[in-house]
């Protein structure tokens, strides 16, 4: 069986999270984005540099999903959240917390986990 096709810099970025060496890309005006990016959508700059991702982020919003897509059938119910990490925000699964206890403002770390349904990799936040 062949390995699944990699999604270029996205999978490179997941690798970096797994290694505890996460990063984002930043333009010369300080706008932050996640890869792959060749241009800053805000200012049009093409001067993008890798910058280390902060160790922790803060949950900006969250939801507990009970009606999933088939790819998350065995994961449900699960929490999906957007967390702010300075100049970038990232969407991920919240694990290690009771869904009822997840709140805006919670501080979380970021890593990579597996989906229960498919075994594929996913961004995971855990309370700090």
């Amino acid at each position: 069986m062949t390995d699944p096709t990699r999604n270029g810099e996205f999978d490179d970025w997941l690798d970096s999270l797994s290694d505890g060496d996460g990063y984002y890309v930043e333009c010369d005006e300080g706008h932050g984005w996640l890869p792959p990016r060749r241009v800053c959508p805000d200012c049009g700059s093409r001067e993008l540099a890798d910058v280390s991702l902060p160790d922790t982020g803060e949950i900006a919003t969250h939801t507990t999903i009970t009606v999933p897509t088939p790819q998350f059938e065995n994961d449900a119910p699960y929490v999906t959240a957007i967390a702010d990490f300075g100049p970038v925000s990232i969407t991920g699964l919240v694990r290690g917390a009771d869904p009822e206890d997840v709140a805006i403002g919670d501080v979380v770390g970021i890593g990579v986990g597996e989906r229960e349904t498919t075994g594929e990799r996913a961004v995971v936040f855990r309370p700090r």
Partner: protein, 388 residues
């Protein structure tokens, strides 16, 4: 510059028609529109057609010429895809083509077949309007995406799930007399609040159903309508479209919809109107919070104030600013690629007095249609005005 006239419109019954093909649904709507318009099909110069998930639901791409065939039209036919705003984008192309003189008659429409693949597969198909790498792989569904937006809205502006429940109750009540609607049933506030949660804080009644259906309209130039003595009193006087970052995580503000703000500004400017001129609106209430965000982007309410509009009765058919007299996506249903043209048809019928809820705005002359794709990463706004 001519303001295109709406010479006829057709909408299928929205609902569960798992055995009906997209081409059959569109043929019903398109032929009804042609028949109502009185236009000879040979005079049609172009077809613009909205569809989102044809490849996934029917294993059918390249639907433009297929749909032209289905209604007996031999003209350049193009499918447009902008997620749930596909038909709104099709309307915009039709308006531009008529205005620039490339066509005198255009059929615009859309169709979607969704229930044949079941709820889980339809949820999956809808999800691809989000960012695959950064959202879908993090478990985001469309109810989930709007739930993320609702929670930020509550945090920033206040409001509650009960306020959203009033939106659902209102739209269900509006749909009761709309025979095109998927759900012609009133619900109570308790029904909405006690329904199962699908993505907290949103419950089953905060979400539109999964729907099969089609809609079509025949648009002509003012000159063609006059020459052929068509009964076409309603014109599209303004068109606007805006885009935003596809992924929610890349937006600076999750309780606002700047793509809709841009579309609104452009459409109002094009028509030479402002929000105070609007008598009635059909907005993209795929989820109850979406209606709140829409009426704020349309300038009918200030940011943070739209949440109370339904609860206060202002957007009901008895209120100052009736919104979604058709029942909206919430109760009328949401066959994704058809929705933007169904909204157009509703406003035209309300303004010409033939819609069953037209009595809500007996002297109405200006209506707007707001059609949003994805988490409002694409939005079209069209202004309709009575010309006589």
């Amino acid at each position: 510059m001519t303001d295109p006239r709406i010479a006829g419109a057709g909408v299928t019954k929205f609902g569960k028609h798992p055995e009906r093909t997209g081409r059959d649904l569109f043929a019903e709507a398109g032929l009804e529109a042609l028949d109502q318009s009185g236009v000879d099909p040979d005079d049609v110069d172009a077809l613009y057609y909205g569809n989102f998930m044809g490849e996934l639901a029917e294993h059918q791409g390249h639907q433009g010429p297929l749909m032209a065939e289905a209604i007996g039209v031999d003209a350049p036919a193009t499918r447009l895809e902008a997620a749930c705003a596909s038909a709104g984008a099709a309307v915009r192309e039709a308006v531009k083509t008529l205005r620039n003189g490339e066509a005198e008659v255009v059929v615009v429409g859309g169709a979607e077949r969704m229930t044949n693949i079941g709820t889980a597969a339809a949820t999956d198909a809808l999800a691809i309007a989000a960012d695959d790498l950064y959202e879908i792989r993090a478990g985001m569904t469309f109810p989930g995406a709007y739930a993320l937006m609702a929670r930020v809205y509550f945090e920033e502006f206040g409001g509650s799930h009960e306020d959203l429940a009033h939106v659902a109750v209102k739209n269900h009540e509006h749909a009761v007399v709309n025979d095109h609607a998927q759900i012609q049933k009133e619900i109570t506030l308790e029904d909405a609040l006690e329904a199962p949660t699908i993505a907290s804080p949103l419950g089953l009644y905060d979400s539109c159903p999964i729907t099969d259906g089609a809609a079509a309209a025949v648009l002509t130039t003012e000159e063609y309508a006059d020459e052929h003595d068509l009964d076409a009193p309603v014109a599209i006087s303004g068109t606007g479209q805006g885009s935003d970052n596809l992924a929610l995580q890349d937006r600076p503000h999750l309780a606002r919809t700047p793509a809709a703000d841009k579309a609104t500004d452009e459409a109002y400017s094009d028509a030479g109107i402002g929000p105070d001129d609007v008598d009635v609106a059909e907005v993209h209430d795929c989820f109850t919070i979406a209606e709140v965000l829409a009426i704020e982007s349309l300038g009918l309410y200030e940011p943070g104030e739209g949440i109370h509009a339904a609860a206060d009765g202002e957007t009901t058919r008895h209120g100052e600013m009736p919104v979604n007299l058709s029942g909206g996506l919430k109760a009328k249903g949401h066959p994704v690629g058809a929705t933007g043209v169904a909204q157009l048809a509703t406003i035209a019928w309300v303004l010409d007095g033939t819609h069953p809820r037209a009595d809500a705005v007996p002297d109405g002359t200006v209506g707007v249609a707001h059609n949003a794709g994805g988490t409002v990463a694409s939005t079209t706004v069209h202004v309709l005005e009575v010309q006589e």
